[in-house]
Amino acid sequence: MLRCREVSELLSRDELGGAPRWTRLAVKVHLAMCRHCSRFARQLAQIRAAAIGSFAQNEVNAEFESRLVQRLQR
């Protein structure tokens, strides 16, 4: 039986993709039964979405690309 600690560490280490099939199944079953671990898993996904959103919002100086092209063509 997988415990909460192992499940959340497997999730945060991003190791599930390379894990054996039975481990992936055990995690799935655990998540269906454990609200704390499923909240933890949901928060990792929310952190990813927030990071992508915040990255897209960052401003870049408008003339930067033109300057760069000019310098590269020299």
Binding site: R5, D14, Q43, Q46, F55, V60, L72
Partner: protein, 196 residues
């Protein structure tokens, strides 16, 4: 080869001939993204302009080695990260122990069950400020962890590619991701709890 890969091989062929409009198009497609990456990695605007310029310069010099096996974007990011590492002389190495490990462990009892379950942060994640908060928290994540996190979560690269770019083993990458994500979670939880 996929259609997109074919297109990229064609673009590279035009770049080898120094076709000005292709160069312009490639810069416009990728430079902003590299710029943002560099800023998140902690370089200021001035350093970032230099770093992105260096990245494109190396890219143009190494076009002969581009075989269409990776995408132009991934190729450029690989160069950017190597250049960034060269620039950071005192690059701190990942430590064997990290205080976040103890924080993570403290959530669980001896039987591996939650004794301090994750806080309810739904309202925080739904709020307008989440972008600003995460960017603030990301600033406090040690550099190597931040690099691994960005390549996985924002770039969506495969573990294999990330390990190649950052010169890591898969185990080391796992440790960096674990620490980065738990640091971000704790940082956001602290902000979420304060807001309540």
């Amino acid at each position: 080869m996929t259609e997109a890969a074919h297109r990229e091989v064609e673009i590279v062929a035009l770049l080898r001939e120094r076709d000005p409009s292709t160069l312009d198009a490639v810069v416009r497609e990728h430079a902003r993204h590299l710029y943002k990456m560099s800023r998140v990695l902690g370089f200021n605007d001035r350093e970032t302009e230099d770093l992105v310029q260096d990245t494109f310069a190396v890219f143009l010099q190494t076009l002969d080695r581009f075989e269409g096996r990776s995408q132009i974007r991934t190729w450029l990011i690989g160069i950017l990260y190597r250049k960034a590492q060269e620039r950071r002389r005192e690059q701190s190495r990942e430590k064997k122990s990290d205080p976040i490990d103890t924080v993570f462990e403290s959530h669980f009892d001896q039987n591996g069950r939650w004794q301090k379950p994750p806080e309810d942060l739904e309202r925080l994640f739904a709020s307008q400020e989440i972008g600003a908060l995460i960017s603030e928290c990301l600033g406090d994540v040690p550099l190597q962890q931040r690099e691994a996190f960005l390549l996985r979560e924002v770039e969506g690269l495969e573990t294999k590619e990330i390990c190649k770019i950052l010169n890591l083993t898969v185990t080391h990458f796992g440790a960096l991701m674990h620490r980065a994500r738990n640091r971000l979670r704790e940082c956001l939880a602290a902000k979420g709890v304060v807001r309540r």
